[in-house]
């Protein structure tokens, strides 16, 4: 369980987040949306332990966050920079397995399995820059999942992909979420995307000093489907409500 308690964050005199209180139960896929510059990424970096907490507390499974929490993984938006271009895809994916003390062969095997899982079978020996953007982000997802994280943070992971690729990856995300059962915090500026992938959507207000302005469970009937789900009246209503909150 992830808990934020009156979290305040900022750079120098500039306040970014103000009094954020949130509880994310285990296994939930929480989407965080808000206008650009509202501090969504700052929120994620704080939970990841990359930024020290300024006010309030952040705790993962009851333990306050100081430094990168155990069993945490992050997928960044900029896959081109987040993957290490000098390592083959397989080595990139196997990198987080080093601290688990596994042998070379075992690391390689697990990396290959995870690559297969994200639909990149046989791409292990290639280099990231030899792959398309969508494939690179799949590699980043494989690298995040290979350690079986209990908390997965995603910072606008599909923001720079084309529409078709983005839809494929949204469905892949839902699939892994169901099978791996990790808690996921998914930051996006795309309202449609937040309703489509989220179990719950939280809207942050425009900065400085953003706060939570809307906290909405997403109860959509049936299995998600790119065409059918987006046409549901419930989907349209949720999208409108979130849209109004973002613009307010």
């Amino acid at each position: 369980m992830l808990r934020l308690d009156s979290l305040g964050q900022g750079y120098g005199d500039h306040p970014v987040l103000h009094d954020i209180t949130l509880t994310v139960p285990d296994g939930q896929l929480l989407c965080v949306v808000g206008p650009s510059g509202c501090g969504k990424s700052t929120l994620l970096r704080t939970v990841a332990g990359l930024l020290p907490v300024r006010e309030g507390t952040v705790s993962v499974d009851g333990a306050p966050v100081s430094g990168v929490p155990d069993r945490l993984a992050v997928v960044f938006q900029d896959y081109g920079r987040s993957l290490y271009p000098w390592l083959p895809v397989r080595e990139n994916v196997a990198l987080p397995l080093r601290r688990r003390g596994l042998g070379r062969a075992e690391r390689r095997e697990q990396a290959e399995l995870m690559l297969e899982r994200v639909g990149l079978r046989g791409a292990g020996r290639r280099y990231p820059w030899q792959l398309s953007g969508g494939m690179q982000q799949r590699v980043a997802i494989a690298r995040a999942l290979v350690c079986r994280p209990s908390l997965l943070l995603m910072d606008e992971p599909f923001g720079s992909l084309d529409a078709q690729t983005r839809e494929d990856l949204e469905d892949l995300l839902l699939e892994v979420h169901e099978s791996e059962g990790a808690t996921i915090v998914f930051v996006t500026h795309d309202i449609d995307e937040s309703v489509y992938v989220g179990d719950r959507v939280v809207v942050l207000s425009a900065g400085p000093g953003s706060r939570v302005v809307l906290d909405l469970p997403v109860g959509l009937p049936g299995k998600r489907d790119q065409i059918a789900t987006r046409g549901l009246p419930e989907f349209v209503a949720l999208r409108a409500e979130i849209g109004r909150a973002v613009r307010s």
Partner: protein
Amino acid sequence: MKRGRAAASRGALLRWTVLATAIAAWQLTTRTHPSVYFPPPTDIARHTHTLWFSGPPTHAFLTPAATENILPSLARMTTGFVIAAIAGIALGTALGRSRRAHALCNPVLQFARAVPPPALVPVFVVLLDFGTRMQVASIVFSAVWPVLINTADGVRNTDPLRVDVAAVLRLNRTERLRFLFLPSALPRIFAGLRLSLSLCLVLMVFSELLPGTANGIGFTLTDAQSRSDLLTVWAALVLLGALGYVLNTVLLAVEKRLLGRGDR
């Protein structure tokens, strides 16, 4: 970026044609206007051959003059280069990782780099007396700065997002060096190594020109000059040029092999 193989070999052909034409022009001029000071290239080539490369096959065709002069020079230079490279990369990495250390040391580094390297040689002569130790020390202290400064810059300019990734993946210090900082700084490190290599060649010759040297290519130069043996002077010059070219080509090949695996 990717040029066709045909285009590449056309470029190489053109480069060699320019060189060949220059040599041919020199040959023609020296034949039509003979001068003691400027022997024709064919004479220089023949002299180079008899002087150094007409030895027995068992000695890789090297004459005693070659083994006594070229090999010691190469040994001094390689020793100096290897020490400078290792020290430069190690110290540069340490400086690049610490913002404070870099801020503190930067003026000193800029000063050390600005001193013309041959000017350091007299200092080492005083400290270490004439001989190989002085020569290697001069080479190391001149060649270390470009590697050090470039490595520090390369490590310092590692993409902050990639540093965040390493933090999130919880790589330890050694893993960060091996998988992040060194590969990320590698293009800059090689830029430094190339500068260092040419400095090594300069300092090798310069330190061998001084008295107290009994062998080496630099010694061959001063020795031939004192005997007014201009043909040997020219042969030594050609040898040094060729040596510089070959060593640089080797370094470029190593660089290409190491860097070919990633655009960054």
